[in-house]
Each structure stands twice: as structure tokens, then as C-alpha cells.
């Protein structure tokens, strides 16, 4: 799988972020490197929600963090509003932080336990202004209110006095207080109970409409990603497999891996037939020493010689649907 290739990239003025050939590697001792992200390209239009989905270790969170240069990618470009962030100095990056914000998986860990909620949400304002205390308080209150937290009750409390869902709301308030254009959500609901998860997903949809946000939504839960995204990219072992609109992707998956994922999702409907034949192990190969050619070939029953010899390129199924596979499940032109 997983290919390189940029057939799925779009042109036009409404492309807010364009990521090309992104590579992120981490040293892991003894001179070896973990190839967390191995040359992926994608773009995000203004006002669009891009869902990044894949199993643990596929590099989806690393990709999200590389967009905001935390840490900086090993190579590749991240062009945001026409400027390649990878070329900028640390200070220039810092100056652009207000435009791209992030929310994290563990809502409790992402809030400083020793500060009050009021201070936490006001922190970005302390850095970027306004410096007037009353003005700051007004903005903080408005923001807390917008995420569904009562400012008067919450302002002077500390994070540990709140539930996970509440903490996630506070964390969203903090990231929106500076009015960002792009919000990167790194598994924001996977630590939450399903009922709270629904609240947060609805909230993100509302805020997106209200503030005209563009989002990258990273998750391992395919149903969650489908619910919130306008376009979904499936990742496997540091590579992109398939990119499509959510309804297309889930209806007619072209990549065998997408198909496997979709078949594995437990469906809350006893009438759906469960494929009980899959019992054997299908473990991920190591990202330190990934397979040659298509990285999915070790688990793919359609794999042939060409899959180990040659890395598949992104090809178009139709205008909105792209797949990187030598033997896709649907017909591909060219």
C-alpha cells in the first residue's frame, strides 16, 4: 500500500494546508530509526474536516503533530496559506501558533493540574493579547460558554474537579480562544465514554460551523471519523492507503486494508452477519523495518509479486476517490 504519489492533491485557492512528502522519523537507539511517517501528501481545503484514520502505530498522530511542527518533520513541506512552515525559524513558527491549534487525546493530562480553568483558558491571551484583564475575562467567559461550560462555576476550579468530558470542553475553549483557522484534533474522544463522546462530536460540529474552522480529525474509530469528516484518509504503517469522501469510502472501499478495517468494526446490530473466519493473527510489521513495496502486502490476500517489488502510487477511482494499491477492489482507470 501505501503509496506515494500525489494524484489526490487538489489545486485552487481554497486549499488551506498542503502537505507534501512528509517524513517523520525518530531515533530509537543503536542508530536505528522508527519510520513513523514515510512520505505522505495530502491537502485540506478551507472549511473542510479531514479525517485521518488507522490503527495504533500507523503514524496518524505523528502526522497531526508534524503539521504544527511539534516536533518538526524530518523532511517534506507543510504549506499553510502559501508559506512552508518547515522553512520558518522557531520564532516565526511561534508567531503563527495562533493560526493552528490542537486538542489532545487525554483531556486531563492536557490541562495543567495546578492552574485554574480561568487561567488555563486565558493563557493564550496572556501570550497574544489583549492584555487588558477585563477584556481577557470577557473573552474567556464567552469561550467557556460557547463550549458548554458555565464560566462562573468553572473559572476558579482546577481541572481535577471536572470530568473527562468537561476537561475536553475546557481544552477546546483554550484552543479556540485565539481564533485559529485550523484545529488539529488528536483522538479527542477516544478516552471518553460513548455518551460523552457524542456530546463532544456534536460540539465540534457546532463550533466548526460557528467559527468557520478547518479541522484535521485523527482517530482510530472508523465510525467516529465517518461521522465528523468531509474527507477521510486511511493510513497504514506511515503511508496513505486511500483517500475519499466518507460516504464513498465506507460504501465502496477500494483498498483491501480499508475493507479489512471496515469488516472488523463491531456493528451494534445483531442482524449484520459477522465474518467469524478471521481468527488468525494479522499483526502489524515493525515500523523500524517495514516491508518492501506495498507495506500492507504481508497481511493482504490479494498480494502478488508486484506488491513486494514496487510501491503502489495513488490512483484515481473517480474525482473524489483515490487509492494506492496494485490490486484495488474496484476498477481504477490507468
Amino acid at each position: 500500500m501505501a503509496g506515494t504519489g500525489k494524484a489526490h492533491l487538489r489545486t485552487g485557492e481554497d486549499v488551506l494546508v498542503s502537505v507534501e512528502d512528509l517524513v517523520v522519523e525518530f531515533p530509537c537507539g543503536r542508530g536505528r530509526t522508527v519510520k513513523a511517517v514515510s512520505g505522505i501528501s495530502f491537502d485540506i481545503r478551507s472549511g473542510e474536516t479531514l479525517g485521518l484514520v488507522g490503527e495504533s502505530g500507523c503514524g496518524k498522530s505523528t502526522t497531526g503533530r508534524a503539521i504544527i511542527q511539534l516536533p518538526r518533520p524530518t523532511s517534506g513541506s507543510v504549506v499553510f496559506r502559501g508559506v512552508d512552515l518547515a522553512d520558518l525559524s522557531d520564532e516565526e513558527i511561534r508567531q503563527r501558533r495562533t493560526h493552528i491549534q490542537m486538542i489532545f487525546q487525554d483531556p486531563i493530562s492536557s490541562l495543567n493540574p495546578r492552574r485554574t480553568v480561568g487561567e488555563i483558558v486565558a493563557e493564550p491571551l496572556r501570550v497574544w493579547g489583549p492584555s487588558d484583564a477585563d477584556e481577557q475575562k470577557a473573552i474567556v467567559d464567552r469561550m467557556l460558554d460557547a463550549v458548554g461550560v458555565d464560566p462562573d462555576a468553572a473559572r476558579d476550579k482546577r481541572p481535577h474537579e471536572f470530568s473527562g468530558g468537561q476537561c475536553q470542553r475546557i481544552s477546546i475553549a483554550r484552543s479556540l480562544v485565539v481564533g485559529p483557522d485550523l484545529l488539529i484534533c488528536d483522538e479527542p474522544v477516544s478516552a471518553l465514554d460513548v455518551s460523552v463522546q457524542a456530546q463532544i462530536l456534536n460540539l465540534l460540529e457546532d463550533l466548526k460551523a460557528e467559527y468557520g474552522l478547518t479541522m484535521v480529525f485523527i482517530a482510530h474509530d472508523l465510525a467516529v471519523v465517518k461521522n465528523i469528516s468531509d474527507r477521510v484518509a486511511v493510513m497504514y504503517l506511515g503511508k496513505l492507503c486511500e483517500v475519499a469522501g466518507p460516504d464513498t469510502l465506507y460504501a465502496e472501499a477500494a483498498h483491501p486494508y480499508t475493507d479489512l478495517l471496515l469488516g472488523s468494526v463491531p456493528k451494534p446490530d445483531p442482524t449484520v452477519e459477522i465474518d467469524e473466519s478471521l481468527v488468525d493473527d494479522g499483526e502489524l510489521p515493525s515500523p523500524i523495518n517495514p516491508p518492501s513495496g506495498c507495506r500492507f502486502r504481508t497481511r493482504c490476500d490479494r498480494a502478488t509479486d508486484v506488491c513486494s517489488a514496487e510501491e503502489p502510487k495513488m490512483r484515481a477511482v473517480d474525482d473524489e476517490h483515490f487509492v494506492a494499491c496494485h490490486h484495488p477492489l474496484v476498477a481504477v482507470a490507468g
Partner: protein, 299 residues
């Protein structure tokens, strides 16, 4: 969605002053230990003002109104030592040495060790390796042996010198504790969140990292103060702490050792003072740590 965050009415307990709430949670042994610490600190600070407390260096037998190794009496509550000096007075003044040394160690440890440790744990990289290499080398010496060597070589041994040396040698262990904490805190997502906001590194260090390192460091300080007092006691017992006639608990025990056959009390009193002070520090320190771990477990 749940805006349900009722401004919870403060409970009965919450309305009481925090100090009483704090004390009410203590088991009785801890209350006793805390009281002892307050008493001993108060006595040491206000020793000069306490009525009836004799001059610790006044040797009665030289001036005709006292004897050596006296039993406790109304004039000498704990009796006198083999130089006919008032034991109670010497213990109170001796507390000054123990406490000054402990305070110096805690102060220098928390301020310098805490800062360096937090700094290198946060920035990591080469600064970290360099600072930790130095720390490791200093820590490669057994504490008392290094202290013995340094104190001997310095030649002068008044309270300022002893306190400075012990304080200086306390920096490396605090650095290590602070660094380990700062490392784990820097990996927490709220630090990444602060960077994502665009907070300057210096701000992150002082506003996000250090405030979270401090509580652990202070809990460590309690236990460390106890260790330092023991260390000074050992040094004094070997005759290498502050020079006579200044009294120190270890010195007193050493002096009383010779006459153990005749009178054990001059050895017992300073030993008890030392043991109880150290015990109290350990006890209160342990309690604080338990309190913290309960609270962090509740998170």
C-alpha cells in the same frame, strides 16, 4: 449538553480555615511530630529570649556554683554534663546548628538544584547531559566521606562554613529529583499544549514545569532535611562539625561517651533530641507524601 456544573455549595468542611482542615486530617502521631518541630524551631530561634535558659557554655565548676554530671534539678532541668554545663541550654542552642544546616541544605537544594534540574529536564539535549554528568560524579562519592574530606581540607569549621558546604553538597541530589520530575512533566500534554499555543519556552519552564515539580521537591526536602540532620550529627560526633565550645547534638553525645559508665543522661538527652527531630521530619514528610499520592490518585 451538560452545562450542569452547579456552583457547588461549599461544604461544612470547606468553610473552616484551611489550616484547621489540614490539621484535622492528621493522625495523632503526626500532630505530635508537627508540634515537636514547632517547639524545637521556636526554641532554637528564640533561645536568647527564653527566661531561665542558662548560658550553654557556662561552666559552673570553674566558677564555684555547680558540679559536673549533676542530676536533673530545678536549676538544671536536664542536669549538667561533664563540664558542668547546662544540658537543656546546650540542646536548645545545639538545635540551631542542626536546623541551620538542614535549612541551608533545603534552601540551596530547592533553589539551585530545583532550578537546574527543572531546566535540564525540560530542555534536555546537551545541557542535560553536561549537567547530569557533573551531578553523577558528585553523587559518586559517598556523602559522609566527601563531606569529611571537604570539611577537613577547608580548615575553618564555623556554622557558616559547615552550612555552606552541606548546602552545596545538597544541590546534586535535588537536581536529580527535579530533573526526573521535570522530564515526566515535560512529556505531559499540557506542556505540548502550551507550546502549541505559542508560549515562550521560558514561560513554559516557570509557569508549567516548575510549579508541578515543586510539590514533589518539597516532600523530598522534608525527608532530606532529616538525612542532613543525621549527617551533621555524625560529623559532629566525629568531632568535625562546628568547633567547640559551640554546642551541637552530635558533639554533646561524643563528649558524654567518655563518661558513659558514670552518667548516661548527658548522652541520652541530646540523642533523644536528635532522634525525635529526625523522626518528626520523617513522619510529617511521609504524611505529606501520602496526602499527595492520595490526591494524585484521585485525579
Amino acid at each position: 449538553m451538560d452545562t450542569a456544573l452547579d456552583p457547588a455549595a461549599p461544604t461544612e468542611a470547606a468553610r473552616r480555615p484551611w489550616i484547621r482542615r489540614f490539621v484535622s486530617k492528621m493522625p495523632w502521631t503526626t500532630r505530635f511530630c508537627a508540634s515537636w518541630l514547632i517547639v524545637i524551631v521556636g526554641a532554637a530561634v528564640f533561645a536568647d529570649l527564653i527566661p531561665g535558659l542558662a548560658d550553654p557554655n557556662y561552666q559552673g565548676f570553674l566558677f564555684g556554683d555547680g558540679a559536673t554530671n549533676e542530676s536533673p534539678s530545678l536549676t538544671h532541668f536536664l542536669g549538667t554534663d561533664n563540664n558542668s554545663r547546662d544540658i537543656l541550654a546546650r540542646i536548645v542552642y545545639g538545635a540551631r546548628v542542626s536546623l541551620t544546616v538542614a535549612l541551608a541544605a533545603v534552601f540551596m537544594g530547592v533553589v539551585f538544584g530545583g532550578f537546574f534540574g527543572s531546566l535540564v529536564g525540560f530542555v534536555r539535549g546537551r545541557t542535560d547531559s553536561a549537567v547530569m554528568a557533573v551531578v553523577d560524579v558528585i553523587l559518586a562519592f559517598p556523602g559522609l566521606v566527601l563531606l569529611l574530606t571537604v570539611v577537613t581540607l577547608l580548615g575553618r569549621r564555623d556554622l557558616v562554613v559547615i552550612a555552606t558546604v552541606i548546602g552545596f553538597l545538597s544541590i546534586p541530589p535535588y537536581t536529580r529529583v527535579a530533573r526526573a520530575n521535570a522530564l515526566s512533566i515535560s512529556r505531559r500534554e499540557f506542556v505540548t499544549a502550551a507550546r502549541a499555543i505559542g508560549t515562550r519556552k521560558r514561560s513554559i519552564l516557570f509557569r508549567e514545569v516548575i510549579p508541578n515539580v515543586l510539590p514533589t521537591l518539597l516532600a523530598y526536602a522534608m525527608v532530606n532535611a532529616a538525612v542532613i540532620i543525621l549527617l551533621e550529627g555524625a560529623l559532629a560526633f566525629l568531632g568535625l562539625s562546628v568547633e567547640p565550645p559551640t554546642s551541637s547534638w552530635g558533639t554533646m553525645v561524643n563528649a558524654a561517651r567518655v563518661d558513659l559508665q558514670i552518667n548516661v543522661w548527658p548522652a541520652i538527652w541530646p540523642s533523644l533530641a536528635l532522634v525525635f527531630t529526625v523522626y518528626s521530619l520523617n513522619n510529617v514528610g511521609d504524611w505529606l507524601r501520602r496526602l499527595r499520592s492520595v490526591r494524585s490518585a484521585a485525579l
